[in-house]
Structure formats: structure tokens, C-alpha cells
Amino acid sequence: MEPRSETERFTVPIGPQHPALKEPGHFRISVEGEIVTQAAVRLGYAHRGIEKGAEGRNWIRNQYLVERICGICSHIHATAYCLGVERLAKVEVPPRAQVIRVLVAELERIHSHLLWIGVAGHEAGFDTLFMYSWRDREAIMDVLEALTGNRVNYSANVLGGVKCDVDDALRDTILRTVDGLEKRTEHYLRVVTTDALFLQRTRGIGVMTRAQAEVLGAVGPTARASGVERDVRVEAPYAAYPSFPVRIVTDTRGDLEARVVVRVRELFECYRLVREILDHMPPGELHGRMPRRIPEGETISRVEAPRGELFYFLKSNGSDTPERVRVRTPTVCNMTSVVRLVVGHQLADVPMILAGIDPCFSCNDRVIDVERKGRAAEQWTWEQLRAYGVDTYHGHRP
């Protein structure tokens, strides 16, 4: 509740239903004229109870549940989960499987960044960029369909390895597609760095300094655009990344243009990785033998999703269903930066700044406990939860 002041407080609600948001989230933006004076965010519209649902399904079925936390980064969720479970079960995954996992992850990153370029263009009113980048994205989706069998939710992983193999014909298809996409990406890099009107919407907007990025806890390309050199594939390489090292892409300016440029340059890095992987595929099996009951223990799993660091905590009690699956997605970390950065900008910049962190609302809805000083931990009943969530709307101002 903000205190009333002399100047008229004019609140523009963005969301939960709004053409700017592809998924539901609520931003209360207070404006004076066109300048934003305050912003508040309310999430939770896409909460589905996945963590609770995971406790009622066995380890194998849970793979597919966590895959559907997000549509764009589904493979990386499944990878993080599988890596954690394999660590608990102390199962060695064959090298070829790890390499194929990384291959699909990089193809997914290409897909996600191309999608994001289109979304950023659309938010800026640059629909042509949107149409062309999504047209080129179809090539990657066709490749993923040829490799895994589905365009979205690839289900390439199994516990202990992967389901799908790469043969020579497929290898040639992938290389050809990557070559074509590389030319288009060079064109997009030119467009986003030279188009005068697009630059007017991105250059100097939403500047986040390196210090701010560290304090707000930003992750992924959003942080890398402010000069923070943080990439889980480099700091804590997992799967096959020790054999295929990644070069971090950073930028120092920290504005929206930097975020666009970082993602486009990461695409080039992905193409390089894909080529290197396809040239050095180790032979071998596709999956190891996995027990159905996972030994007791706890583990964490950190991976680099297209949006930033994805963190899994898995706890097993020795049975065939998990005791606890906890997911912390990158958008949760980046959301606070949006609320801080929009203050002082124009209303028209708010969708652009929001798009700049590459938000994935369906990823980020978890229940987060915030400990307050001096108050003991409490456990809410179903009725209390309902009162907090649903019944507040009865007192809500129209």
C-alpha cells in the first residue's frame, strides 16, 4: 500500500491480461504523465503445483513433469533433473549421451534466443524483425524434430542417458541448418546494432550497472550484458562441457542494446559449439542402467538455461518417488531488476525493459518463503493459502 501524496498517483496495471505479456504477471506501474515513478510486481498466476505434484510421481514420470515447467527451456529442466538423479544413484552416464544432451541444449539455446529476438522486436513495435526471426527459427525447430521427434518438449533425456542418437544424415542436416542460420544471425546483428529506430528504443534504456547487477542478483545474459562474468557452463561445467569449453559473451554497457547484442553473440557461440560437438562425437551407448529406487540423499544441480542459472535441489528417501524437488528458475532472479530499472523511464519503455530480461512467467511461479526477523516459521493451511491468494480479490479496487 503506497501512501498518498500531493501529486496525483496514476496507476497503470500491466497484466495479468495484457498484449505485452505473453504469460500472466501483474505489474502496477505508477506514472506521472509518461514517466514511471514506482513499480510493483505480483506473480503467481501460472502456479501449477509442480513441486508438490513431483512428490506423488515416480522418478521416471517426473522427468516429463519438470520438462513441462517451461516450453522454451524444457530440455534444460529435464537435463538438470536427470543430472541430479544420476548423481544420487551414482550412475555413470556414457559420454556419447552427455554429448548429445549438450547438443540438444545448445540447439535449444539457439531456438530460445531466436524466439527472444522476435519478441523483443514485437515489443518495440518492430514486427518485421519478429516475423523474419521466427521464420528462421523454424529451421531449428525442424532440426530438433528430426533429431528428437518433437518440436517442443523434446523428451530427449532418459534417466541415465538419452533416447535419440545422431547419425550421419542427421549430422549433415544440422550442419547445413547451422550454416544457414549463421548468415541470418550476422544479418540480425547488423540490424539490431544499426537500425536507427530500434536503437532509439534500446540504446541507453534500462541501464544496469555492474554493481547493481550484483546486488539485485541478476543471472544469465541480463547480468552478462552488465559486465558480470557469470555462466554456469564455465564456472561449474556439467555434462559434456568440460570437453567443449564455452567462451563467455559479455558486454559492458548494461543497457537494452547490450542485452540484445549479448544474446545475438551467444548465438554465434552456440553455432561454434554445435559444429565442434558434431565433429567430435564419442562413440558408445546411449544410456546406462538406472535403478528404480534411488538411494537416500540430497543433491543440487546447476545448469545454464537460455535465461540464466537454473538450480535444482533433489532429495530422496530411498524409494521410487522423490521426497522433495525444488526448482529455482532464472527469471525469479531477474524480476526484481525490472521493478528497479523501470523507475524514471517512460511508460513505453516498460514492456521493452521487461522483455529485456527474457521473462518466462511459467517457469518462475514457485512458493517462496521469506523469513522475517523476529517471527517464527509458520505453516499455512489450505484455508489460509486460499484467503491470501483468492479472497484478496474481493477487496480489490476495480
Binding site: F10, T11, V12, P13, H18, P19, A20, V31, E34, G121, H122, E123, A124, G125, F126, D127, T128, L129, M131, Y132, R135, D195, L197, F198, Q200, R201, Q346, L347, A348, D349, V350, P351
Partner: protein, 307 residues
């Protein structure tokens, strides 16, 4: 006899039904061209007509908080103003139905009445998005109106008249795009600003304020406003083509020139990203006015030199 002729001109041809049908066709051509530029298919020929039929068949929801008389009346006034403006322009390559000295100013201001109605309609509500959109619409109106009018007055100056039919006659023998290229550019871009086409669609920026001033409109009101915008587009294209592209002597020339101009307008729509409202105002009041004054200076100087 005169009343019958007036009625015919206002309701059937060239204004009224003919103009409404023409506006639907031009809207389709615009959307189809935009799709072609973006390498996709675009809508089928009857899509704008289907949109209007659908909107007219939907329930009109009058929101609380504003005057419902204004809410229901403003779309009608706006469309009526746009249709009336058509009587003074050489639509379909024929001579304007009515003509008098100074009707250029009257036409431009009748077109502005439509924009004003949209701005008022947006202010006549307590919805946030409409209010922001209405502010932006009126701000944009104030910024492009002056340069646009001045650019159109360039041909008026050389033709020595403020009557559209006379300017159009004069333009038939002089291709003013060659002698007043700067004025032509300002006129085309001013037209895009008037029609709120990208890159000047900040007043109805879908990703920021849903639908701007028309957010609360649905059903019949929205249909009438959309028809008004379509009519405005046809009239605007006719004016610019008649003044700068060598007049519209016959229906065929009218079709060719206005559609050619539409190709350019659609191309600009596809090419350029959206400008923020403050950038639009800055652009117009810095470069737009400057260019128009340069153009006027050139006209005056060249006339002196020739004389």
C-alpha cells in the same frame, strides 16, 4: 434535383457506400502488402469486411464512469466528418462533388475531427489505457498537424489557390514531386502520422497500452471508428497523390497512383520500428517543421528567380 444530387453524392457515390467499400478494399491491400513484405500470406480479400460485420454483430459494452451519450455519439460524429471530407477531394479520379475557395483547409480539419473524436472518446472514461492513449493521440495530433498542413500548402502556393479542385488541375500538368520533393516526403510521413500507422502508432501501441484511446470500445462503436480510419486513409492517399503525383485525371490513374503510394506507405510500415511518443513529437517539431520551412523557402526563392 439538387437535393437528390447532394443525397446521391453523400450517401452513395462518391462518398458514403462507395467510399466505405473503397476503404475496406484499401485496408485489405495495405494488410496484404504488409504481409508480403514480411514474407507471409496475409488475410483474404473479404477480411476487413468480415471484421466490420463481426464487430457490428457484437454487443456494445458501455463502460461506467463516462458519459454514455458521448461514448455512443463520438464514433458516429467521427465517421460522419470523415465521409464529409470526401466530398471535396477528387475521389475515384472524378471532379470533387463540391468545391469552394478554401476547401483544402476545411478538408484537413474535417479529417482532424476524426482524430479529435478518438481522443475525446479515450478521455471519456476512467480506464487507464484509454486515458494514456487519448493523451498520446492528441499529442500526436498537435505535432504532425502543422507540418502536414504546411506541406500540402506547398502545392497550393504554386497553384495560387486554396481550392482542391484547382490545385489538382494545376498538378495534372506539373509533377510536383519533382519540384517539391521535400514537401512530398513530409506529406507522406505526415499522412502516416495522421493515420497512426507504424512507426507513428504510439497512440495505439498494442504492447504498451492495449489499444490506446479505443480500448474500451467494442461492437458498433469500434466498427465505426475503424471505418473512419479506413476512409481517412483513402482520402489522405487521394490528396497526396492528387497534389504531388500529377493529379488524378481518370479513375484508372487514381487507382494506379493511390495504390502505388500505398505500396510505399506499406513498405515504410514494415521497415520502421515504433517511435515513442516523445520521440515522435521531437521528430516532428524539429525536423518536420524545419524541412517544411526549407521547402517553402525554396518555393519562394525559385518563384522570385523565375519572375
Amino acid at each position: 434535383m439538387d437535393t437528390v444530387r447532394n443525397f446521391f453524392a453523400l450517401v452513395l457515390f462518391p462518398s458514403g457506400l462507395f467510399l466505405l467499400a473503397a476503404s475496406l478494399i484499401y485496408e485489405w491491400v495495405d494488410r496484404k502488402l504488409l504481409a508480403q513484405f514480411q514474407n507471409r500470406i496475409g488475410p483474404r480479400w473479404f477480411q476487413p469486411f468480415a471484421d466490420v460485420v463481426k464487430l457490428l454483430s457484437k454487443e456494445e459494452v458501455v463502460p461506467r464512469g463516462g458519459s454514455s451519450a458521448l461514448f455512443l455519439g463520438l464514433p458516429v460524429i467521427g465517421l460522419a466528418a470523415a465521409l464529409t471530407a470526401a466530398l471535396y477531394v477528387p475521389l475515384a479520379g472524378l471532379a470533387p462533388s463540391f468545391s469552394f475557395t478554401g476547401d483544402l483547409i476545411v478538408t484537413i480539419y474535417l479529417l482532424s475531427v476524426l482524430t479529435l473524436c478518438m481522443g475525446l472518446a479515450g478521455s471519456n472514461t476512467i480506464g487507464r489505457f484509454s486515458l494514456v492513449g487519448a493523451t498520446r493521440t492528441l499529442t500526436q495530433l498537435f505535432s504532425y498537424e502543422a507540418p502536414f498542413l504546411l506541406a500540402l500548402l506547398g502545392p497550393a502556393l504554386v497553384a495560387g489557390s486554396w481550392q482542391i479542385s484547382e490545385i489538382s488541375q494545376y498538378a495534372q500538368s506539373h509533377w510536383l514531386i519533382l519540384t517539391q520533393p521535400i514537401g512530398f516526403i513530409v506529406a507522406v510521413i505526415g499522412l502516416m502520422g495522421k493515420l497512426e500507422l507504424p512507426p507513428f502508432d504510439a497512440p495505439e501501441a498494442e504492447t504498451e497500452i492495449v489499444a490506446g484511446a479505443l480500448t474500451e470500445y467494442s461492437g458498433r462503436g469500434l466498427a465505426l471508428f475503424r471505418l473512419g480510419k479506413g476512409v481517412e486513409m483513402v482520402i489522405g492517399l487521394t490528396l497526396v497523390a492528387a497534389f504531388f503525383l500529377g493529379g488524378v485525371a481518370t479513375p484508372l490513374l487514381f487507382l494506379v497512383k493511390t495504390l502505388g503510394l500505398l505500396v510505399v506507405v506499406a513498405g515504410l510500415q514494415a521497415l520502421l520500428a515504433r517511435l515513442r511518443i516523445d520521440q515522435t513529437v521531437g521528430l516532428w517539431w524539429r525536423y518536420g517543421v524545419l524541412l517544411v520551412f526549407v521547402q517553402w523557402l525554396l518555393i519562394v526563392v525559385l518563384r522570385e528567380v523565375r519572375l
